[in-house]
């Protein structure tokens, strides 16, 4: 490994550590439409869970 590559590697290592320093991103401030979408998504999930449970129980009876 030559000296310039060695320096460059150290530089990349520094950049990597700078990225790590940003490790925790702040919580996103949601707009009204985004909030509405996420509420709809929660409803979708609530409806999807019983469908999955039903599908499994139904599939258990498939011969």
């Amino acid at each position: 490994m030559d000296t310039s590559s060695h320096h460059e590697l150290l530089e990349i290592l520094e950049e990597g550590r700078a990225t790590d320093a940003l490790s925790k991103l702040p919580r996103r401030i949601l707009t009204r439409p985004e909030l509405f979408l996420l509420i709809l998504l929660r409803l979708y999930v609530l409806l999807a869970i019983p469908v999955v449970a039903y599908a499994f129980i139904h599939a258990m009876n498939v011969k």
Binding site: M1, R28, A55, M60, V62
Partner: protein
């Protein structure tokens, strides 16, 4: 060079993982400077090809074969191409998120949308992946049975392959080993050639989307949904974004990341169409495949029609499809779990510092393998349910992806433009409708007719 730098790392305050990733980045930087573009594409290729061929898993190939055996060569040939175009649009967003934020998908959801969506995304992925892993081991087992291997040998081989691949403790090596394995997906192409598909029919199908299926109804829509579920699934988003970060891709590497994803989509579509074409002789012979459970059933039925070699290639392809998917899917569980609980997450980690990461993949693989080997386990119920889970849970995964890709704070100039939003938005709407339709067909099976 490697040992030299690794010795230097602790003194510099860097970990082994940091140094390995920095070495990968340095290599790319030098090759980019030298203008060796083909070499650069080769080195940067990986996550996109693996994710697309990983999704050409055991159940997906069975879905394509069922489609070919039920409807022959026609409407579904261009339809498969369309689903992979959809997959490309979705996965390209994951690549952009990875290079822009240098964070995995689960990590981003947790940090930007809070613990509810963070834990939901992680548990839905880990649960869905566990069920999918079961189906991959069923594929490996069924393929093994075709060649006369007992179930425990094939399943044990699958588990050993997953653990050994993780023992490499180096992302770049892991990726190259899996890319080598992924070549096996191409086995469906010679298998299809043994079926002597008509080039004229294939071209006609690609150009005209015809002939259209002669019978529609619940079975037809289930196949449509199964084909969509075979190309666009939540684990792909989590895996590719994390793999892009683990590989060390930066904003400069985005064009190559896109090329990698496009190549993966093209190869996977070709293999999917090949599986369909390989099974098309069953359609011509009027063989009912509705009772077929695995790829091995197809291989056995195809033997008198396409010959022993063609059928063996098909069965081998099914084993490879299951094995590659088991390796990539278990790794996506690892990334998601470790990112959510803020544990270290990289295939460059050694076992002591990455035990949470490695344990997730190993435990899920062992659990799935054990379920497959339990006598009388409800494997059919799991196989049928996994499609429902994947399709229903794709809508939340896509919507969160779209919200993140529009997050200018973290994406900067790589945030979605109008075109990406139009394409991504359309796909979200289509997948939501498909999920709802799938739910309705599941609860009311006779709603669309027999």
């Amino acid at each position: 060079m490697k040992d030299d730098v690794l010795r230097m790392a602790p003194g510099f305050g860097a970990t082994r993982e940091d140094v390995l990733r920095a070495q990968d980045r340095l290599k790319m930087r030098i090759i980019r400077r030298e203008g060796r573009w083909m070499r650069l594409i080769w080195l940067l290729a990986g996550p996109g090809i693996l994710v697309m061929l990983g999704e050409n898993d055991g159940p997906s190939m069975v879905s394509y074969a069922t489609t070919g055996a039920t409807y022959g060569i026609g409407f579904f040939v261009p339809f498969i191409l369309l689903t992979f175009a959809m997959a490309f649009v979705v996965q390209e967003m994951a690549v952009r998120l990875g290079v822009a934020t240098q964070r995995g998908h689960a990590e981003l959801i947790f940090q930007r949308f809070g613990p509810f969506w963070g834990y939901f995304a992680m548990w839905d992925l880990v649960f869905g992946n566990l069920l999918t892993l079961v189906t991959e081991f069923i594929a490996i087992q069924a393929g093994g049975l075709y060649f006369g291997f007992p179930a425990w040998v094939s399943v044990g081989f699958g588990v050993a392959a997953i653990i050994l691949s993780l023992a490499l403790r180096r992302y770049a090596t892991w990726e190259r080993v899996l890319l080598g394995l992924a070549v096996g997906n191409l086995l469906f192409i010679p298998a299809a050639l043994f079926a002597h598909p008509s080039a004229a029919r294939l071209t006609h199908a690609l150009l005209t989307w015809g002939p259209l299926p002669h019978k529609t109804g619940a079975a037809f829509f289930t196949l449509i949904l199964a084909n969509i579920g075979a190309t666009v699934t939540p684990w792909m988003i989590f895996f590719q974004q994390s793999a892009v970060v683990d590989k060390g891709l930066t904003r400069h590497d985005l064009p190559q990341g896109r090329i990698d994803t496009a190549i993966g989509a093209a190869i996977a579509a070709a293999c999917g169409i090949a599986a369909l074409a390989a099974a098309a002789p069953l359609y011509r012979a009027h063989i009912d495949v509705s009772a077929f459970l695995s790829g091995a059933d197809f291989a056995t039925a195809l033997k008198p029609l396409i010959g022993t070699t063609g059928a063996s290639l098909f069965a081998l392809g099914i084993i490879e499809a299951g094995l590659l998917a088991a390796m990539t899917i278990s790794t996506s569980s690892s990334y998601a779990l470790a990112e959510t609980v803020s544990a270290k997450h990289s295939l460059n980690l050694d076992f002591s510092s990455g035990w949470v990461f490695y344990s997730a993949a190993i435990i899920s693989a062992l659990l799935a393998a054990a379920i497959v080997l339990i006598p009388g386990a409800p494997l059919l119920a799991m196989t049928l349910t996994v499609n429902v889970v994947a399709t229903l849970l794709m809508a939340p995964a896509l919507l969160l992806l779209l919200l993140l890709a529009n997050d200018h704070e973290i994406m900067g100039d790589l945030a979605n433009g109008r075109l990406a939003n139009a394409a991504g938005g359309t796909i979200v709407v289509v997948i939501c409708l498909v999920g709802t339709l799938y739910g309705l067909i599941t609860v009311f099976p006779t709603w669309l007719g027999p």
